[in-house]
């Protein structure tokens, strides 16, 4: 009984970690930059395809593809930010939504054209497959790996935003772009780097997610609900919010499916509704 519960707890944390990884990029663009970027999933998908292509076509090991997936999507994100996104920073959220959803559909069509509509295979290295024993508990090796990545990403992001000069500039630029520019901060550059970081994280999340979520051109639409859910419940604008939200949602989803499989799959949505009623701005929302 206790062992069962510990197993569920671990799986829940691991699933929450995955939710966090695929959503954290959106938390950066939506939360820190106030841009409703529904094309987030498209960047995640690009990261996934970069990872798969490198592995199957060039035999690059899985772990080595992850930084490349991050870098390539960050670069594409930076280019799109310079050419397209920046025109819409001052636009209404509806315009941003329409623009980014259009971009998503273009990405889906492009991915179908280049990679075809079928599922992409991903073969994890031997060390990340199967189960390992941890304090007498059998846990999935890949799940353990995902949790480790989340810890790394979270620590790095928190340090970047809260402890570095760049982080201070970002916070200043987001809070008041005009004043920030007035005191000599290159707001445009800060925004570009931030956007690239957000899309890069999306790409990383996409690459890490394919083993569990699969990868085909409908990826951006299929998982959009989950990205939005985590960011909405967590509250935009912090790293901690989405992390806590993802862990809560992940745990209750897994526990619900395990203990009451008849309704388990809906618990995550019920929980979202309840949490949003209790915390309309999200768990750690900065704005009321």
């Amino acid at each position: 009984m206790i062992a069962n519960f510990l197993g569920v707890l671990f799986d829940g944390i691991a699933y929450g970690s995955l939710l966090f990884l695929i959503s954290i990029g959106l938390s950066v663009t939506l939360g820190l930059m106030n841009f409703v970027n529904l094309a987030h999933g498209a960047f995640a998908m690009l990261g996934g395809y970069v990872c798969v292509t490198l592995m199957t076509r060039y035999g690059v090991p899985f772990l080595a593809t992850l930084p490349v997936a991050f870098a390539v999507t960050a670069l594409v994100g930076a280019v799109l930010e310079r050419t397209l996104y920046r025109r819409l920073y001052k636009a209404s959220p509806l315009d941003q939504v329409l623009f980014s959803i259009g971009l998503t559909f273009m990405a889906i069509a492009a991915a179908t054209y280049v990679w075809g509509s079928s599922q992409q295979p991903v073969r994890l290295p031997e060390a990340l497959r199967g189960q390992v024993e941890l304090f007498g508990l059998h846990v999935g090796a890949y799940r353990l790996f995902l949790i480790a990545v989340v810890v790394l990403v979270t620590v790095a992001l928190v340090l970047l935003v809260n402890r570095t000069r760049f982080g201070a500039r970002v916070r200043a630029a987001v809070d008041n772009a005009d004043v920030a520019a007035g005191v000599g901060i290159n707001v445009n550059l800060v925004y570009s780097v931030m956007f690239a970081l957000g899309t890069g994280l999306a790409g990383l999340g996409g690459a890490l997610g394919i083993d569990v979520l699969g990868l085909d051109p409908t990826f951006p639409l299929k998982y959009m609900v989950y990205f939005l859910l985590v960011v909405a419940v967590g509250g935009a604008g912090t790293i901690r919010g989405p992390l806590v939200a993802a862990l809560i949602l992940g745990f209750f989803d897994v526990a619900g499916k395990y203990y009451v499989p008849q309704v388990g799959a809906f618990i995550i949505y019920t929980l979202m509704v309840l949490l949003l009623i209790a915390f309309p701005a999200g768990l750690y929302g900065r704005r009321a």
Binding site: N4, G7, V8, D11, A14, Y15, T112, G116, S117, S118, Q119, Q120, P121, V122, R123, R129, G130, Q131, H138, G140, A141, Y142, R143, D211, V212, L213, G214, L215, D216, T218, K222, Y223, V225, Y226, D253, V254, A255, G256, K257, Y258, P261, Q262, G264, A265, F266
Partner: protein
């Protein structure tokens, strides 16, 4: 008067020459969107058939018109059918990747008296919706029931079932459960999972803790099946002595390579595998590779397209210049064909397909994975029909 009669007679005599109009076939299926693969597979199967059997039949050229439904959109399918009948004057309506498309077009086929060739749509009820429907694909119960019989015969007595919570999943569950319990097996518990479900771990853990002898699974081909099989491998169900049995949807020829080793040894029942060993299948695979090189390995939908065309050619051969709906159905009823999947018959009463269902095991051949057939249930009818 005599001259007029003579001219009329001459005209009548020469009509066959004038009447060499093309046979028009309207194919309604998703060619874009998440189900785009269905339409592409139909197209590949149709082209492969025409490559092997020529693009003329009974002296008439065959013209195929493709219409895209973009997914399970009944209204679009119906509109396409109406346009194909009234504007393009097609002789046959064909295709139908998804059940809603077929159901929406059934009325149009009845009203226009056009033979409607179903190349996939696999819910049992489809053929009952119009007397002009003939199905060349399969039904879900037809392929899931043999698994129930096979499992009980092979020493599996306690099974857990897990299916997707929508009509095809429930059809499969029913077909399996009825056949399995009739053969003396017990279904210990059943889970229906929602169609969008990225996380299978807790379900799999629950099944593992229940310790059945096997788990019967129906999941639509695609990431769901891949995710499930990876979860099964990660949790070590095989080591715990729990077999995974399923219908062939989950190890579909299109996705099986994406599952990789996770699928190895898995036992499924289905009506077609690209690894089916017959000269007809060899010819089909070769033709498919030539006409649809970019479409990869053909799967059961390509076979549906291929055999649907075979049915259409048979009708045109018998009827020649005018395709009358009722006469066409008379030709299709009881029609027997040797398909790349094996012998098939269109049942004279239900107009549904009767075919061999194979028991297959996933094996690795070179770098690729295949469903290799090792047992069979000949002449399976749809158990959902009286």
């Amino acid at each position: 008067m005599k001259r007029i009669l003579a001219i009329a007679a001459a005209l009548l005599a020469s009509t066959p020459l004038f009447a060499q109009e093309p046979v028009k076939i309207g194919v309604i299926a998703p060619f874009s969107g998440p189900f785009a693969d269905y339409g592409r597979q139909f197209e590949g199967g149709i082209k492969a058939y025409m490559k092997l059997n020529g693009s003329t039949v009974a002296g008439r050229k065959v013209e195929v018109i493709y219409r895209d439904t973009t997914g399970p959109n009944p209204e679009i399918a119906k509109r396409h059918a109406q346009e194909l009948v009234t504007r393009d004057k097609v002789d046959f309506l064909a295709g139908f990747g998804l059940t809603p498309e077929a159901l929406a077009v059934a009325d149009v086929a009845t009203e226009a008296k056009k033979p409607m060739i179903v190349m996939n749509a696999a819910s049992s009820i489809v053929t009952t919706k119009s007397p002009y429907i003939a199905r060349f694909s399969m039904t879900l119960q037809q392929v899931s029931a043999p698994m129930g019989t096979w499992a009980a015969k092979n020493g599996i007595k306690k099974v857990y079932t897990l299916v997707s919570d929508y009509a095809p999943g429930i059809d499969s569950e029913t077909g399996f459960r009825n056949a399995f319990t009739a053969a003396g097996g017990t279904v210990v518990d059943s889970i229906r999972v929602p169609l969008r479900n990225p996380e299978f771990a807790p379900f799999i853990q629950r099944i593992k803790d229940a310790k059945p002898e096997a788990v019967f699974v129906f999941l639509p081909a695609g990431e769901q099946g891949v995710a499930f099989m990876k979860g099964v491998q990660e949790r070590g169900l095989a080591q715990a002595g729990i077999k995974v049995i399923a219908t062939g949807d989950i190890t579909d020829d299109r996705v099986i390579d994406a599952m990789g080793d996770a699928a190895l040894g898995m036992i499924t029942t289905f009506h077609y595998s690209a690894a089916h060993d017959s000269p007809e299948n060899q010819a089909f695979l070769k033709a498919f590779a030539e006409v649809a090189a970019d479409k990869g390995r053909p799967n059961f939908m390509a076979i549906g397209g291929f055999d649907g065309m075979a049915g259409i050619y048979e009708v045109v051969r018998k009827l020649g210049n005018t395709i009358d709906g009722d006469q066409a159905m008379a030709v299709l009823k009881g029609l027997k064909l040797t398909s790349p999947r094996g012998p098939i018959t269109i049942d004279a009463g239900t107009r549904d397909i009767v075919q061999t269902v194979y028991v297959r095991r996933v094996e690795k051949r070179g770098a690729n994975y295949y469903n290799v057939e090792f047992d069979r249930f000949p002449d399976m009818r749809d158990p959902g029909k009286p």
